[in-house]
Amino acid sequence: MIATLLVICSLNLQAGDTLKKGDDSATIVLSVKSASVKEILENLEEQTNFHFFYNHKAMSSSEKITMTLDNVSLESALREIGERADLVFKVRGDQIVVKKKPAVSVISMFQREDYFLSKQDIDRVLASSKEVTIINEISVSGQVIDEVSKPLPGVNILVKGTTIGTTTDADGRYALTAPDAGSVLVFSFIGYTTQEVAVGNQTDISIKMEPDVSTLSEIVVVGYGTQKRSSVTGAVSSVESKEISALAVPSVQSALQGRVAGVNVTNNGSPGASPIVRIRGIGSITGSSDPLYVVDGLPTGGLNSFDPRDIESVEVLKDAASAAIYGSRAANGVILITTKKGAKNRGMTVDVESYYGVQNAWKTLDLLKRDDYLQYGTELLTNAGSTLPARFSNMNDPIYSGTSQTYAQTETDWQDEVFQAAPIYQLQASLASSTEKAKLYASAGVYGQDGIMVGTDFKRYNFRLNSEMNISKFVRFGQTLTIASSNQTNLQESGGRTILQHVVHSVPYMPVRDPTKLGGYRAPDNNDGSDPENPMRIQEMDENSTDVVKVFGTAYLDVSILQSLTYRFTFGSDFSYSKNLVDQPIYNDGFGGRTQHNLQDNRTTWFSPLFQNQLTFNKQFGKHLINVTAVAERQDLKFSALNASAQQSSNFIYSLQAGQNQTIGYNDTYETTLLSYLGRINYEFAGKYLLSASIRRDGFSGFAPGHKWGNFPGVSVGWRVSEESFMASIPSISELKLRASYGSLGVNNVGPFDWQSLISLNTTFPFNNTNQGGAYFNSLPNTELSWEKTQMTNFGIDLGLFNNQVTLTAEYFQRKVDDLLLRVPLAPSMGYTVDYLGNVGKMENSGFELQAGYNKMDGDFTFNLTANIGTVRNEVTDLYVPGSTIFAGSNADFGGTNITKTETGHSVQGFYGWVTDGIFQTQAEIDAANNADGDAATKYQSQAAPGDIRFKDLNNDGVINESDRTYLGSFLPNFSYGLNFSGNYKNFDVTLFLQGVQGNEVYNGTKVLTQGMLRLFGAETDVLNAWTPENTDTAVPRAVNGDPNQNSRTSNRFIDDGSYMRIKNLTIGYSLPSAILNSFAKGSVRKLRIYASFQNLLTLTNYSGYDPEIGYRNANSLVQGIDYGQYPQPRTIMGGIQVGF
């Protein structure tokens, strides 16, 4: 359309050299009444030497013209005729080509790439045309089809270097006139690789478009709109649906792992548990560093409710300028998720996809077997002067009365019991349709995943309906809706200990089950001198499961006020309801037990409506392209929670009704409101110089009075060097863009009343055995609580080589957080339980990101290779009080000392402890150490004995104490990376996806459990190599119950290199050739692909625990990278089928 209109510009209507074919002084005299165009043109042919060429059919209009021309130039005559009859004229030699003038009014306002010229504009253009061009035009037509040979409508076709172009119609057909044989046609369409074809002497050019697998696809979703990739000036990374659905994972978060430079994803728990997503480092010390998730324009959480297969694209807004449009919630980055809206081309497709697989633990530890355990236990207790458990001398007793099996005959592999082969499956059916009037996408699916540890699973049923309708030329209505119901059975903890802790602690001669016990499980009792809980009992008998129903939808109305000005009203509704059941039946396993069936029913309702008013102005003025967006919006949250509990005397009653001790525990209801005004202007000059500036003003009810409002500006500039004329001499560089941005962001991660000191009433004292309610407050109020402010600068370069066959994006960023929302640990003596929430402290993250791709799209073997790598350097630059520190991670079972320290000048939560210095081999060595400071009475390590670990006296004061601790490493990797290869050879396809992190440390808590020798528990076989006077050449200290020397204190002994590289995914697929498909399905089956896929096929790591991918426990920040025995990532083998109709 653009092209057709602009053709007018070159119309020759000036009597110049080439127009004097005949009489150059010729003037036209014409007087007609109700004449047809044809008649008029014939008349003109007689008066001049020109011949008119036209399509007779096109000129068969019945319209009759009455006009009088008296002695005017040919030019004026044609202009007049053109005006009356909607015609345009083009001079070619001594011929004049006549065409119908394009109808401006039918241009759809929604095709934003189109241009509008009013009638006045056309007149102006016509009037100003001075040139005369003689063109050897070639009419070209053809059909464009997609990768499955279906016609592709809407494809843009442009004659390269000109403004001549058109688009394909509903049948994928097009026709245009190329200026000459040297013309090159450029075919482009969103989601497909742009193709160029030289015209030569062809008149029929039909091509097949190939889906674009490069990351530089044309249109990217940015906040409150879309933008051409080439115009983007911020740091925005896109991930496409193919990558998102490559892995068998419940949510998009896991699917992002390794896909985007600068985005770190750490899986953290059993199926359905949310992974940790960090964009460009750690944003907050004690607040959440989670990014903002925006699904179809509505900020939300609970991504487990969104089927990754419904997702069209994911955009990650990494820098401040692109994220500033989300203002107060965007400091940790924004992840924009766009769901599928309809078929890419007109028509209807139905797809059914399914996979089934099995997951397994890929690693187990070498734990003590029965006889080794007895040997180790004997040594451990004897060395401490403790009595041996009675069982050690009664191993020939039956394990319970009524059986002949003895303890000596029992050998339980607790890892084998708890780990299981776990199924994973998904089935999804989707329908996509697109017509001129409406687009539709509907899907339904089920996803199920059992955990590799007994008693964990996640299951989801999901339904989606998205549609968009053009109601009139001016009004469009669209909506998205998903309804998902999921159930998650959580991995539990018992007694503050993880299941894996109980597993490695379990006693190998104990049976799992014991029919003589209430409940049927068995745990070590008084005779065993050890008290791990039976992990199988916890996971099989106790239950902690959560049902979530989420109804999430948006509806929007687009109204075209002017051709360049549209108004959009959006209503969004995010509703979720969750019901958490805690079920703890009655049992007695010989050591612990319950006499009542404890039940808890915890429910929360979350309703967050969004109202949004958006005005968008988009206009091209010559070389200036301006896009202005203005939005006013309001998002509320209405939250309520009700936790109830009761006890039943029967294990078969699950109702709270008529139970004992019925209580309503937590009952909370609140509302928050976020009011926002925002504006953005994008300006582009000649497609070369790009500027984007935005500002958002947010007011949030959760902050203290007078501190509720914040302003968040962002600005970015770009220079497309490749568009400059001087770059034409380097044709290998197809794209070169330099970008820079700066912006300010916030975080409003505070509760609705965190600034107040609230009265709690959840305590009682039973005077005279009668409970009387108590009241207290346990937090320090902060009447100045406000936004956390993040400033980020970003420099980027985008490079495309050889027609974007090779792409490269590099970024450098610097992210400074000020007024950090920090939970300041108060001195315990102040008496407050809740750490003080203040805007205190500063932190910096900076890093480089590199993303590179290579596409080989021709030949039988095509492939695409992408790689990304990101580094982040983190430093806390200020805390609340000079010299203040935050310690975390202490746990009695893990040596009892804190594990991490956060202070100014260091990266957040560095591992902090003592440094080992070998093992004291003799008493003489200990004496020498005691005497090192000249005073043997001051002990070096007060309880040291031969065989104990010697720690380094870092401050050389002759005594090992708190002052001898130092930084031992960080959980933050030096860099993280991903490498993806996807190739096709004929009908085979293969995907290989590697992901890894390098240079991070893990605090191997599992090793503290299995080698710490704190008390008598199951352990790793390494303890058999413990130091003894006879076995001195060992790194394992002596076995002594109670660990008097605190050999298990936080030290580099338990620091492991956490680097790993994973074959995250290997998929090999085969698509049936269409010939075969047609032969048996008679064309009803469009596509049939089968594949085998392996997840976490291979993990290369030096980490000695279960799995190097360690998140955090109990959602507690500052303990990341400490392995307390978290759920390890499984290895999955699966097969799948995709059928398209």
């Binding site: 403790s386 009595t387 458990p389 009675a390 001016f474 009004v475 008084n526 001198g529 050890s530 075209s560 108004y567 007695n588 050591f591 037990g593 006013a632 001790n661 007011g699 009075p705 509720k708 009343f753 107040q756 000191s757 609230l758 009265i759 709690s760 305590t763 009682t764 004292f765 039973p766 005077f767 005279n768 409970n771 009387q772 309610g773 108590g774 207290y776 407050f777 346990n778 320090l780 109020p781 300041v824 315990p828 003596s829 102040m830 008496g831 407050y832 339980t833 609340y880 009080v881 010299g883 520190t885 935050i886 009695a892 009892g896 804190n898 309880q943 708190e962 109670g1042 008097p1044 605190q1046």
Partner: protein, 515 residues
């Protein structure tokens, strides 16, 4: 064009309709009151006071850690075996360091109690309480609890941070205040409590701090520093009040009645922490939860068939005279009956996990019976529903302290009289002093009898640790009872690492010596 105007109007209307009224950002908290809206009425101040008592009862205090801390530092206890958690064992054998969880729990909870008490003390004067006496009583109870806690703190740690008001800024963390300052506040608080509180309560006020409790605590404060002169009249007042109320000696005939659920708030009781068997044990450190979980874990921790974490030390067992019935009130021996008295079970060696004791030359399993629920039921492996009240102070203790005072500054005869009241208890009925083993011919001899009598009468009642501390300080111990003791270190606990880490005014340089 008409459409455009129409639609534009709609748009503008919508814009206006939800345009942002900034009052929307002012939200009321419909769930909780705040420190500025609460503490206004009698019932609110009363509830705030209950909150102070609740900490006293919590897991970190009387519920668990506090009695452990006393017991682990006394010579009455020995490890039950490998099941004793490492951090507790460290205190028992003297290898605890500033990161030790037992001592940091008690430290933290003590100051939480003080925060809550300070809130009552500060808010109550301005509260709308018409009954002036009631208002004064609320404040006095809070001051009593604050004083008791500060006394515990400085007795354990020496100089400690002193907060007479709750802190309002993160910069309010206090440096260590000299004991003398802390003690001055303790004395002034208790003096006020004595002048305001009634001698006894009844009905659903049973368990509140009384005048006699305040007098008894103040006496202990003085005795901790050997101030017998100041302590004696207070103890005499307590005894007078108790005997007047009891109409005779303020001792129960049955020694064991002091440790059962059925005989709580009896005449021998000076002050109790209340527990009930309703619900389970509340593991929350501060005693906060929503359930009626107000039971006690003591029975589970020490019982013969429970976790049996601590057992009596051989030394304590040996302290009992032959035929002292209190031996069997305090301890279970293999073969003893336990459980439902109507169908008792016989305790076996196997039932009792862990270590054995050596008693009278015989290695055997001996376990704590005092405060165990086994006197009336079989708890099996696990029982966390014990409602026995903890007797913080009872008259036997008062009589014995008075005997000690008389011996030091009064009459030896009177001292022996007080001692013999304890021995004459019908269920004890031990021959009166002097005996062959414990002559009372001299002040020293009477003191030995006091030491002996306190040890056997108050075994496992968390008196021994402070007795050792004060006697050691006064130079009254001929032999050091704590095997690992090392002067200029073990008199005090280390300031917890959490305090060193988070309090900018307390650094390693301010740590107690030896740590």
């Amino acid at each position: 064009m008409r459409n455009i105007i129409f639609l534009s109007s709609i748009s503008i209307c919508l814009l206006i309709a939800i345009s942002c009224d900034e009052d929307l950002l002012e939200k009321d908290n419909r769930n909780k009151q705040t420190t500025t809206t609460y503490y206004k009425t009698a019932s609110e101040i009363s509830a705030a006071l209950n909150g102070v008592y609740a900490v006293l009862q919590s897991n970190s205090m009387g519920g668990r850690e506090w009695f452990f801390l006393h017991d682990l530092r006394s010579d009455e206890m020995a490890t039950g075996g490998g099941q004793l958690e490492t951090h507790r064992n460290q205190v028992l054998i003297g290898t605890h360091d500033p990161s030790n969880g037992v001592l940091s729990s008690v430290w933290t909870a003590s100051y939480r109690l003080i925060l809550r008490a300070n809130a009552v003390i500060q808010f109550a004067p301005d509260a709308d309480i018409t009954d002036a006496n009631l208002k004064a009583r609320y404040i006095a109870e809070a001051k009593f609890l604050r004083a008791w806690t500060y006394f515990q703190l400085y007795a354990f740690w020496g100089d400690v941070p002193l907060y007479q008001e709750f802190s309002t800024s993160i910069a309010d963390a206090q440096a260590r205040a000299p004991i003398s300052d802390v003690k001055a506040l303790v004395i002034s608080d208790l003096t006020e409590a004595i002048s305001v509180l009634p001698s006894s309560f009844s009905g659903n006020d049973l368990g509140r701090a009384t005048k006699i409790a305040a007098q008894a605590v103040l006496a202990k404060v003085y005795l901790f520093d050997g101030q017998y002169q100041e302590a004696k009249p207070l103890l005499e007042a307590v005894v007078a009040a108790g005997e007047a109320a009891a109409g005779g000696t303020a001792l129960m005939d049955e020694y064991f009645d002091n440790f059962t659920e059925e005989t709580e708030y009896n005449k021998e009781s000076v002050w109790e922490i209340s527990y009930t068997a309703n619900g389970n044990y509340n593991w929350d450190g501060d005693g906060n939860d929503y359930g009626p979980n107000e039971s006690w874990i003591r029975s589970q921790e020490y019982s013969a068939v429970g976790w049996r974490n601590l057992i009596p030390s051989d030394k304590l067992l040996a302290e009992f005279e032959n035929n002292d019935p209190r031996l069997n009130y305090n301890f279970f021996f293999t073969g003893d009956e336990y459980g439902d008295p109507s169908s008792p079970k016989s305790l076996t060696d196997v039932d009792q996990r862990g270590n054995s004791s050596v008693f009278k030359g015989v290695t055997q399993k001996i376990s704590w019976k005092k405060y165990s629920v086994m006197y009336k039921l079989d708890p099996g492996g696990f029982w966390d529903k014990i409602g026995i009240n903890y007797r913080m102070m009872r008259y036997a203790d008062i009589y014995l302290l008075l005997a000690e005072c008389e011996n030091e500054i009064g009459s030896g005869t009177k001292a022996v009289e007080y001692l013999n009241k304890i021995r004459a208890r019908p269920s004890v009925n031990m021959p009166p002093y002097p005996t062959a083993a414990y002559p009372t011919g001299s002040k020293d001899q009477i003191f030995k009898a006091v030491m002996h009598e306190r040890m056997v009468e108050l075994a496992g009642e968390e008196q021994r640790n402070f007795d050792i501390l004060r006697w050691r300080k006064a130079g009254k111990l001929a032999t050091e009872p704590i095997s690992y003791f090392q002067a200029n270190k073990y008199e005090r606990l280390p300031i917890p690492l959490g305090e060193l880490d988070a309090n900018v005014n307390i650094e390693q340089a301010n740590q107690n010596p030896g740590y």
